[in-house]
């Protein structure tokens, strides 16, 4: 998968848009309650956040297509991420 840390947009390796990451509560991974090795729970909004480090593009596409609001965690150093950053972020 590809990730742009400036726009926080996530794409497949083929460039297909998956989602733009956004957390209105600005949560951090360390703030979340561990559920298992792959997911944690946010006590503020009661959602689960999936760690993407072991997910393939196909798995992620399936997850996001079932629920576009699925929250993700991406670390820039994880092996299945290609970081892209060609954009300028324009302030709202």
């Amino acid at each position: 998968m590809k990730f742009d840390p400036i726009t926080k947009e996530v794409y497949t390796d083929n460039g297909e848009f998956l989602k733009a990451m956004h957390c209105p509560f600005k949560m951090r991974w360390d703030d979340l309650e561990p559920e298992n090795a792959q997911k944690r729970k946010c006590s503020t909004c009661d959602r689960f956040i999936l760690d993407t480090k072991d997910l393939t593009d196909e798995m992620l596409m399936k997850i996001v297509s079932q629920n576009a609001d699925t929250c993700l965690k991406i670390d820039l150093n994880q092996k299945n991420i290609k970081v892209i950053s060609s954009a300028i972020r324009r302030q709202k």
Binding site: D4, C23, C71, L76, N77, R90
Partner: protein
Amino acid sequence: MLFGDRNNNDRGLRVIRTARDKDSINRAARSGLRPLVKKVEPSDKIRSKFAVVQFKETGEIEVIGDYRRSGYLDADETETVIGWTFYYPHSFKSPFAAYLIPKDIKIGERVFIEDLIEDYIGASWNQGDTYRLESCEAVWNGSDFEIQYDPRTSRSDFVG
């Protein structure tokens, strides 16, 4: 309080909004908020990198931001037309902005600033890229906010 909690709004703090142009600043002032106007000054500590490779046959380009990607590109098929370059990756509406202060704010009140005007590093990557902190807690001292930025925060993960 743990340092790790400082950049979050998970404790129900009052949210301070930011206006980023003259019209929205004046609109807020007319609605009873006090704009605290500041310069928007990009920091050279915030930087992202890119390189552009071009496919020799088609002329199409690929923009890459990850040193690891270079190793996957076929040198016979591609040519680097712009080498690794760091840049400031944000663009703001105007060179000034304002925090919109409620009239009843108390000295010492801890708030959550939703859209920081100042540049602080919110995340960093071991390839040299640093990313701007969007939001942070702050304490009102009567004339300005003391940003409760944790300089020890060095993260490379994103949630959302």
